[in-house]
Symmetry: C2
Subunit: 423 residues, 2 copies
């Protein structure tokens, strides 16, 4: 029997409101899927070796719903700029380098190893416009055992010459890119960069491809007020930013995630809800690029699908624990200065970083039966003190203080992941 | 000749507006004080061994202007609470344990070692009401070679029974505490916890002691709106919160630092300016306790003395690089949501964490001639990428991404500090 049994202090968030805590419990998986969590190991598993992690916490693997792999070398740089100048000064020049496949292999190798280190087990990733480099990224993530979506970026206007494609080539390259995927847990995703980078013809073509091939879509929505004004100018016929994507079949006609959504309108929220569009909330990026803070409490109250994104390198930290802490901090500032809505709790940000975002990848991000057996073993001895702390408190402390040094093991679909060589 | 010569990529902030960068330069100290920074080593130092740190950055040691050592075990816990409930649920119960000197020695040992690790070379530290434990803390900081001020906390009202002192005992214990200090770079500081914890008699007594013995003072000011209303209720005669301290000689009559100052009025700012009172800006704590964000840009524009504080454990991170990044992030949210004043820059937060706060300790926090030779050697290889980066960019990246793993060496007053045993 292909069973896996981990024993430890099991904490997960099947709902946003409250953590489920199972001290000294057994997390059992079969065929890479969670069977259940048991206080005593059932007779049926008597022959299976128990991986006893003692006092370690066992939590679901983290899901990063928005990250730009080629911007990995830029993280922590250019933090004194807003979105559009930052794109031109740092992001576009770096992305242009990924024409060079050897460079891409090295940088993406480092990126994948760092994902592994920080315990991100699945991610929705932007590559660059260069399909060969994007293929390398998908291959490296697959080899590392990580899951998620990788997108070759599309942009056929308003970018530097060395990143702009013709509309026809962009579509043709994308079609070849998605066809090139073998089966596996890394899948392709259509990735129009954002409306200002894509002509209507390109968006129409991508929307058609999404429908025809049932491909998911990722892009950016309403991050910055200058960006929104620009979209209005480019598409004067559209009611709002979301309607631009929607008109071309890129807004929930297939599974869709939109990063940021800081300044979305009531109409846009209503459309997202109707279409099941995901929000990738990226708190560090909201802060660093001074975009403002997305109204996450409202999104949750309205029933939207929400996950968290590191948004490297608009966000400077790849680690989802850092992103979680920042999401709580941001929500407190919205409470204080913007709308008086309740801040996010520790349970809620764990939910967002696991099951909330994980559902974009399938049954991912929880230890409920049938979920992918993605988990992290967390040894928080370095953070501990003399007072006994509950698993809930230890989880909170790990989120606020921990880093890759606390993560002892990572499993995806029931497989223990060894450290990737890359980079 | 008692000279020390370090060679490396030297970066410091003698002014808030711009970094001083001296690539491949020599930082020379004599008798623990900076002589100067040279592009070529002067003849006079020809016989001195050069400690060549190659491509490492050399920056001033960090100064933490507000930190509670006994709250070290609580960092990252209770982050779902505001100031007053958080004090009662987490802070006071932990502080009560410091009656036990053996416990104090263990926890303070860990705290001091962590200060060393994260590159904080001087700090203004709150202990608890327990003078013996506070003495142990000062002793451990001194043994580790760190500098700064340690205060035995005073509180004779509105606290739990096991932390409240009588007015007379509080004053007498404090007098003995300050008398017990030997010469050295760890000095005593008067530490009325905050106005609501101190009767007017206690504050009057402490103000007298400050004047009589020329002792510095540290406390809290205007962190939270509930706290401010409480102070108004307790001292109906006072024009504002600052006037309470001022009436008792605890507001700049001697060197004074006030943590937070989130909600200070125009009058309070004017008084702080007149009296040279320092602000210890604690961005993480502003966020975690949802107090609001202190108007740091305004403080700088008005010419106030400002430094940064970790405020462990209202702040969860002891590392000043984390505090610097958070200060920039907070300033962006104030720009966006509160007052439209320009966000802080990387140069400005380095200034605040070095010379800005450092001046509270004397000529500390810069590499100008005559300054204490406090510095850190930073090896950022782990954070680097293939693109050559300027020292300014590398500093920014270290602030945003780095941690104790990047710090290769720490010097205080020209002495290399070895890792403290403690804890």
């Amino acid at each position: 029997m292909d069973a896996l049994v981990l024993r430890g202090q099991i904490v997960y968030a099947p709902f946003p409101k409250k953590l489920t805590v199972r001290p000294d419990a057994y997390l059992v998986a079969e065929g890479g899927r969670v069977a259940d969590v048991y206080d005593a190991l059932p007779e049926a598993y008597a022959g299976v070796r128990v991986e006893d992690w003692g006092d370690c916490l066992i939590v679901p693997g983290f899901n990063d719903l928005h990250v730009h792999a080629p911007q990995f070398p830029n993280r922590g740089l250019g933090m004194d700029k807003e979105l559009l100048p930052w794109l031109n000064a740092y992001t576009f020049p770096e992305e242009a380098k990924f024409r060079d496949e050897a460079y891409a292999r090295r940088v993406y190798g480092r990126f994948v190893r760092e994902l592994w280190r920080v315990g991100t087990t699945r991610a929705a990733v932007f590559a660059t416009v260069h399909a060969p480099a994007a293929r390398i990224l998908a291959e490296l993530m697959g080899e590392a055992g990580l899951g998620g979506f990788v997108g070759k970026v599309n942009m056929d206007r308003n970018g530097p010459d060395d990143l702009i494609e013709t509309t026809g080539a962009s579509l043709a390259e994308t079609e070849r890119f998605v066809e090139g995927f073998a089966e596996g847990r890394v899948r392709p995703i259509l990735t129009p960069r954002f409306a200002p980078s894509c002509t209507e013809a390109l968006m129409r073509g991508l929307g058609g491809m999404a429908a025809r091939r049932d491909l998911p879509v990722q892009s950016h929505l309403s991050e910055n007020e200058g960006e929104i004004a620009w979209v209005r100018e480019l598409h004067p016929w559209a009611r709002d930013y979301a309607s631009v994507y929607d008109a071309f079949g890129l807004f929930g006609q297939t599974k869709t995630v939109m990063a940021h959504c800081v300044h979305v309108t009531d109409d846009e929220i209503a459309l997202m809800l109707r279409r099941g569009v995901y929000v990738a909330h990226c708190p560090f990026s909201n802060l660093n690029l001074a975009s403002g803070i997305a109204p996450v409490r409202r999104f949750l109250d309205e029933g939207l699908n929400v996950g968290l994104g590191s948004d490297v390198s608009g966000g400077h930290r790849l680690s989802m624990t850092d992103v979680m802490a920042s999401a709580v901090e941001c929500s407190k500032m919205r409470w204080k200065y913007v709308d008086g809505r309740a801040p996010l709790t520790t349970a809620e940000v764990l939910y967002l970083a696991t099951k909330g975002g994980g559902s974009f990848f399938g049954r991912v991000g929880s230890f409920e039966p049938g979920y992918a057996m993605d988990c992290l073993v967390v040894d928080d001895a370095r953070l501990s003190d003399e007072t006994p702390r509950s698993p809930e408190e230890r989880l909170e402390r790990f989120i606020y203080l921990g880093d890759d040094r606390e993560i002892r093991a990572r499993y995806v679909d029931g497989a223990l992941l060894s450290e990737p060589r890359g980079g």
